[in-house]
Amino acid sequence: MDLLAQGLQLGSSVDWHAVAPDVILTVTACVVLVADLFLADRSKWLAMPLSAAGIVVTLVAVVSLAGQRRTTLGGAYEIDSFALLLKGVFCIIGLMVLAISFNYFRTGVRFQGEYYFLMLCSLLGGLVMSSARDLITVFIAIELISVPGFVMTGLRKNDAKSNEAALKFFLFGVLSTAVMLYGMSLIYGVTGHTLLSGIRAALVVGRDLSPAARSAVGISVPGDPIIVLSVFFIIVGFAFKISAVPFHFWAPDTYEGAPSPVAAFLSTASKIGGFVGLLVLMFTAFPDVADVWRPVFAVLATATMTVGNLIALRQRHIIRLLAYSGIAQSGYILVTFALIDPASPAVNSQALESALVYISIYAVMDLGAFAAAIAFARRGGTYFIDDYAGLWQRSPVLATLLAGFMLSLAGAPPMAGAWAKLFVFLAAINAQVYWLAVVMGANAVIAAFYYLAIVRRMFLEPPEIEGPVEVPFLLRTAMGAAALALFVAFIYPPIITTLAGGSIF
């Protein structure tokens, strides 16, 4: 079949219902940008409800696809329960970030409409990533997530720190893209496929042939240096995006310099986008090469957890603390990659399920913590943890909510973060990778120290400043909803586990 005929077939067979969520979000982004151009300065805030409405409609489209399995665009784009769960998670992140951003961008920062437009574009990248089953689509999705992020980070144009943050993020992002793209091009060269299923099939064929037959048809085996190298390059590229140690240096500086709601977005949507890409690639394209990359992930996970937590111990700035805590949390998710065993589907599905549970819960609790930090920093507040002293006496509700998010991040009851850690831990035990489970446990103890230090400061120390912290309605709603969701998921975990359990490839 010549390329044109192939293209004709692709063009005429687009499954519009399958791509509906992405199309709706694209239209929303365009409408928001145009609307912002024609709105008077006074009413530019309308871009936010407009964006929220678009995301809600997108969420409806996602729900309307529930339980279906569709493939379109020649296999490059797939709707299955995995994709739908993650699309749902991205939509919820989008709504929460909108709620967090509203008051921040309405007062102070210019470029409101542009911010919402860029945020929607980045979110669209996440939605595409959830469904991408093709190297090129995966690449486009990861770039669609990152590129608006560079601009959003630099939105406070006159602030030197914001500029520095954007430049650092941009340089690291471009470097990681180059490395990843090189790996992808090598994989395409070796297997002759960009479809992930095709890549997997080619690798399996290579493994089953005898050496003589292999060299006759020119197919590589999973153990070939070229495949090891390209898989490694792809992992390194994604490791930058998910800020895994030793590729994490940009994250704290970028989060600190960026407008805080943007930092919240980067540490959830952007990071989860990277994880989704990794999950898709590792579980659908390279499971038969697991012998090569499993040890890499074990080392990455150990380093990421340990370094993230140890540096977080010394942080005095809440956003930097959350940045390092986010790095450590990435480490826990990376553990699930180190458990893959091509011979055992049971272990694989448990690893994937625990990763999905962790990702979903992490998104909510991290956004909640960011919302609390942003609420505290408004109107003359600060980002310094020392100033949180006695918050219990000043604003009991805010202190309780923040304490809840900190407990959840630490993995302590009565919040859902406890289940997230426990499931990854159990997956490691079941896969008989005991040493990683031990490293995880030790790290949970270290992490508890700095999370609980904030709680102690808020509840046990006397306040230096008097007066309650005023929290706007939307921020209160976002924090309340997040805390409620975490609490309910702790009481009744099947809410999230059945969703995740049914969402395995």
Partner: protein, 122 residues
């Protein structure tokens, strides 16, 4: 081919020598065979046929940056338009609709530039 561990370095040495010799050899050969008629016109900077004005290190207005950016956007659009135009007859109406959507999204960028007044030379 020289043998042994250090022999392999000799191979590299030979390669380096041949590489350098090739460059300088051809340059010297060209000098021997070519006519040499220098003139003022020939020694000026090549500017696509236009007489060069000023120094090479001239400053250009920062506003050109926006024009360059917009140019790149529509240049890339043209790259997609040409192959599309060639196969358009075989693709039919659907291709027309798709291209209109594509250009429409790019037109939003132009609209944005116009509304932000970056196309006006102040």
């Amino acid at each position: 081919m020289p043998e042994g561990y250090f022999g392999q370095y000799a191979t590299i040495g030979i390669f380096v020598f041949v590489g350098v010799a090739l460059v300088f050899g051809t340059l010297q050969l060209a000098r021997l065979v070519r006519p040499n008629v220098p003139s003022y016109e020939k020694s000026t900077t090549y500017e696509s046929g236009i007489d060069p004005i000023g120094e090479g290190w001239s400053q250009s207005n920062v506003r050109y940056y926006i024009f360059a950016l917009l140019f790149v956007v529509f240049d890339v659009e043209a790259v997609f338009l040409f192959p599309w135009a060639i196969v358009f007859e075989r693709l039919g109406t659907q291709a027309l609709v798709e291209m209109v959507i594509f250009i429409g999204i790019l037109a939003i960028a132009l609209l944005y530039a116009i509304k932000k007044k970056v196309l006006e030379w102040l």
